[in-house]
Amino acid sequence: MSTTETVPTPGGPIGDPNAPVVSFEHVSIGFDGHSVLLNISFQARSGEMVIILGPAGGGKSILLKLANGLLPPDAGRVLLFGRDINKLTQAEMFDFRSHIGMVFQESALFDSLSVRDNVAYRLMEEHDNPEDVNRRVIESLKFVELEHAIDKFPDELSGGMRRRVAIARAIITQPSLLLYDSPTGGLDPITSTTIIELVMKQRDVYESTALLVTHRLQDAFTLATHRFNMKTNQMERIENDGVDPNTTLMILKEGHIAFTGSLVDLLRSKDPYIQEYLA
């Protein structure tokens, strides 16, 4: 890994600075008469990472799209920084999104643009100074260790590299909230570990709030039991078999929240569904 780097100031919160960063209040959504999420309520405080687990097709990705205002709920409210996002106009919502970074399940890179243009996309839309844009693109790509791929196109990259470019694109403005949709989905174990390390680095170095959707229990366990060390530039096990106090696990079952709590709470749970899920 590269040498230690200075920590830029993360994007400050907007709206109410004392409110939870993300708050779902009795949110429900369904498609074609079929309920996907039912009466979901949870919060994510500033600096907290909520890891959302559950079976495939359980509504995890839908939950992230609700958090980013890409889908409106059928019932309930989604609040970001204390503001109901469904009451914002489209123009206000687009401004709001400059404080949110999202990594999509299949990366969702723009395949007609180079890596440079993909990562710089938001900055170019805001018409930032080209030299400043270039510097920040290189910084962002250095974070994910892909500065050598700056002039490549997405179809020239491997799956893992595309995922890392997607992370670079999401973090370039140092958003206050990060949404990860299965960042390790479809990747081999070694590449998955690289991705999780980057997610952990973003959590611990920049202290951004995050919602992370995954179907891989081992990713959740790694994030909850490890911390990123800036000096060694690697993740390491938290001392005394401890768990990260800012990492919460949430398990969805048939559109409801079956569990929410720390890793320790999860392992101690007597719920038969949780025990079957962990088995």
Binding site: F94, R97, F104, E106, A108, L109, D111, Y121
Partner: protein
């Protein structure tokens, strides 16, 4: 599927299309306006369609002259071939055939490009990055198609008249007489009709192509479906609106 459900779906589709078309036009007056994308699309849609429009126009004019001269000769009226070719091309065949060619080429292209972006979450990513996909993707395509289709129609009309002239000359019709008749027969309502049609056809082609693209569901199969539907629906709407405009023009100007 029940009839009620079917009708509900169609009404919803018309609603969604109307909202997209309206927003696309209103966005012309809202910032940001994506000039670079407008020029890129104008190049792809306009300049890229010139070869097929030239071929279509030229041979359509030629076959018009061929068939009309043969029939008119029976009445000793071969000399008016120029008038027939000119009026037919400029009022009807130029705009309609150019519209259908551009629809086949570009409505399908828009539907497949936007559809592919939709199913790979690139459009969601665009929204997540603070860009309105309607402003960035749809409005430039709609505006460039409207503008370029007018010029393409003019090229088609011109080449059609030339094609008719070439065939007429091989059938013993005097070329200067042909072009004299072609020019003299035109009146203001004919030219107006011939230039108003591409404005509406361009709007139909781009909005239908973008609508089917943005509403694609179901992976690669869905993209294929959207592409086909975009061409079919835009072609049918072109023919239908051509009928309406012709009716209105005749009602207003008597020709």
């Amino acid at each position: 599927m029940e009839i009620g459900e079917f009708l509900r779906e169609k009404v919803l589709a018309v609603q969604e299309y109307s909202i997209l078309a309206w927003t696309a036009m209103i966005n012309v007056f809202r910032r940001p306006f994506y000039w670079v994308d407008l020029y890129t699309q104008a190049d792809l849609i306009g300049v890229g369609s010139v070869p097929i429009v030239i071929l279509t126009g030229f041979f359509t004019g030629g076959v018009l002259a061929l068939n009309s001269a043969t029939t008119l000769a029976q009445f000793g009226a071969k000399a008016v071939t120029g008038e027939l070719v000119s009026l037919s091309m400029i009022k009807e065949l130029g705009p309609v055939l150019t519209g259908l060619m551009v629809s086949g080429r570009n409505a399908s292209g828009m539907a497949s490009e936007l559809g592919s972006m939709q199913v790979t979450e690139q459009i969601d990513a665009m929204r997540a990055l603070g860009t309105d996909p309607l402003k960035k993707l749809v409005t430039p395509r709609v505006l460039s198609t409207i503008i370029m289709l007018v010029f393409l129609t003019i090229i088609s009309d011109g080449l059609g008249t030339l094609g008719g002239g070439w065939i007429s000359s091989t059938m013993g019709i005097d070329l200067s007489q042909y072009f004299h008749m072609a020019y003299q027969s035109l009146r203001y309502p004919d030219v107006l009709e011939g230039l108003v049609k591409p404005l509406l056809f361009g709007f139909i082609i781009a909005t239908v192509g973008c609508y089917f693209g943005m509403s694609t569901r179901g992976g690669t199969q869905g993209v294929g479906r959207s592409t086909t539907q975009a061409v079919v629906v835009s072609s049918v709407l072109i023919i239908f609106s051509d009928f309406l405009i012709s009716q209105v023009t005749i009602g207003l100007f008597g020709r």
